[in-house]
């Protein structure tokens, strides 16, 4: 049976440090505005008590990628293992994939005048290495999971601010934070 690789993002562990984002940028030498992975602040009242919570997202390597269907040149392919790869050679920079993706994943690189997105570091995976963001997260909050093999406990497909997963069936799953006990001063 083919693989279904996806990210498992542990929000419970994520400290919103952006190291995933910046290490990816550094590894791929991306321009400052370009981010293949993006850390976003979540609402303060996410778990009931006020907390600082962040979620790190990249391409969701969807089961039904909207980018792939929107692309007029067929630059997108979904590999056997589920990774959605964008072939920049073919890209003509029409930006339709960026419009079609519910997660705004493909972004325009103004220098190359082509779209750019996370490839789950498939070149690294193919030689037995982990994606940069997975390897470089100081908290080990990002993992790669074969969802055909493993169904992580507590894994959910949606977090606030994240688009309806029924559109493209993203493979990314999240582990939501558990609320801690808080004793706050009353004013």
């Amino acid at each position: 049976m083919a693989k279904k690789l996806g990210f498992l993002v542990n929000i419970e562990r994520c400290i919103g440090c952006h190291a995933c984002e910046i290490s990816c940028k550094s590894f791929y030498q991306l321009e400052p505005e370009m981010r293949r992975r993006r850390v976003t602040e979540l609402p303060e009242d996410l778990v009931g008590t006020p907390v600082r919570a962040f979620v790190s997202t990249a391409c969701n390597h969807c089961d039904e990628p909207a980018c792939k269907n929107a692309c007029p040149v067929g630059a997108y392919t979904k590999r056997e293992d589920g990774i959605v790869v964008h072939n920049q050679e073919l890209c003509i920079g029409c930006q339709m994939c960026g419009k079609a993706c519910p997660y705004k994943v493909p972004v325009y690189n103004p220098v190359k005048r082509k779209m750019d997105k996370c490839s789950m570091c498939y070149e690294r995976l193919d030689v037995g290495q982990l994606p940069i963001c997975v390897e470089k997260c100081p908290l080990e909050a990002i993992q790669i999971v074969d969802y055909n093999e493993v169904q992580p406990e507590n894994g959910v497909s949606i977090v606030p601010t994240f688009a309806d997963p029924s559109i493209t069936h993203p493979t990314t799953q999240f582990i939501l934070p558990k609320p801690g006990k808080q004793t706050r001063r009353s004013s």
Partner: protein, 267 residues
């Protein structure tokens, strides 16, 4: 404003297709002088061609645009490019048959080009009917694209024919029906946005907040009023009236399309 090429492309291509179908239809039903027909069809080819050229500016790599037909199996954009490309090609051929004054050939190529044009608009609308952008994701997009064609095409052809005194059909009626339909679609569209996903409501909020929204409504209403009043009053419609209405509605549609792109809020 980086979607400006798309605004221009969609409006002009829909104008060209609408005009073409009108010309072809009138040509089938009655007679148009060769010179007039040629003039109209050539001007439509020019507009259609400009639309293609402008659309290239939206690409990071315009010279690689030819590759855009590669993914025709799944991509509506590929289909749009293919159908529209074929339409422009056939409309040139169609003009050639005006030069040759080959009426039956004109009829046949025109029929094929009409189908291709309709398919092109259909594909064009389908590109934008995507869940990622709630304001776009409804049948109203489809209606709006076709209505642009119905409003602008007949008026464009009408202006030529009326000036040359060859207007043999009641195009005003077609356009008025178009206006009524457009009004209904607009209302459905706004209420759809209002009652839709938060991003759709946000699109409406953004649109209404811009001055051009009101300019668009104003030009639309004025154009509609001029045409309706002159039609009801049985007053003879002149080239000037047609031209004014056409220009107003072109501005109106252009602004509407601009807002369509600029106020699109992503999920």
């Amino acid at each position: 404003m980086h979607d400006m090429p798309l605004v221009i492309f969609t409006v002009l291509s829909q104008l060209a297709i609408g005009g073409f179908v009108t010309l072809w239809w009138i040509d089938q039903k009655s007679t148009i002088q060769r010179k007039t027909g040629l003039l109209i069809s050539l001007s439509l080819v020019v507009i259609g061609g400009i639309a293609v050229l402008v659309s290239l500016f939206h690409l990071g790599h315009p010279f690689a645009a030819y590759r855009a037909i590669l993914n025709i199996k799944v991509s509506w954009l590929s289909r749009e490019v293919t159908f529209y490309g074929a339409f422009v090609g056939l409309s040139m051929l169609y003009s050639w048959f005006w030069i040759k004054d080959a009426a039956s050939w004109r009829g046949m190529t025109g029929a094929v080009a009409t189908i291709l044009g309709i398919l092109a608009i259909f594909s064009s609308a389908k590109i934008y009917m995507i869940p990622a952008i709630p304001a776009w994701n409804s049948m109203t997009t489809m209606f709006m694209f076709f209505l642009t064609s119905i409003l602008l095409g007949p008026l464009f052809v009408g202006v030529f024919l009326i000036i040359r005194g060859e207007l043999s059909m009641n195009l005003t009626a077609v356009v008025i029906v178009g206006f009524i339909a457009a009004t209904v679609v607009m209302l459905v569209y706004f209420s759809g946005l209002q009652g839709g996903l938060p991003q759709a409501a946000e699109s409406l909020r953004l649109a209404v907040g811009q001055l051009i929204f009101w300019v668009r409504l104003f030009t639309f209403i004025i154009a509609f009023a001029i045409l309706a009043i002159t039609a009801i009053g049985k007053q003879k419609q002149t080239g000037t009236i047609y031209t004014v209405v056409f220009v107003l509605i072109l501005i109106s549609e252009f602004l509407a399309r601009l807002q369509f792109y600029e106020t699109a809020v992503h999920l």
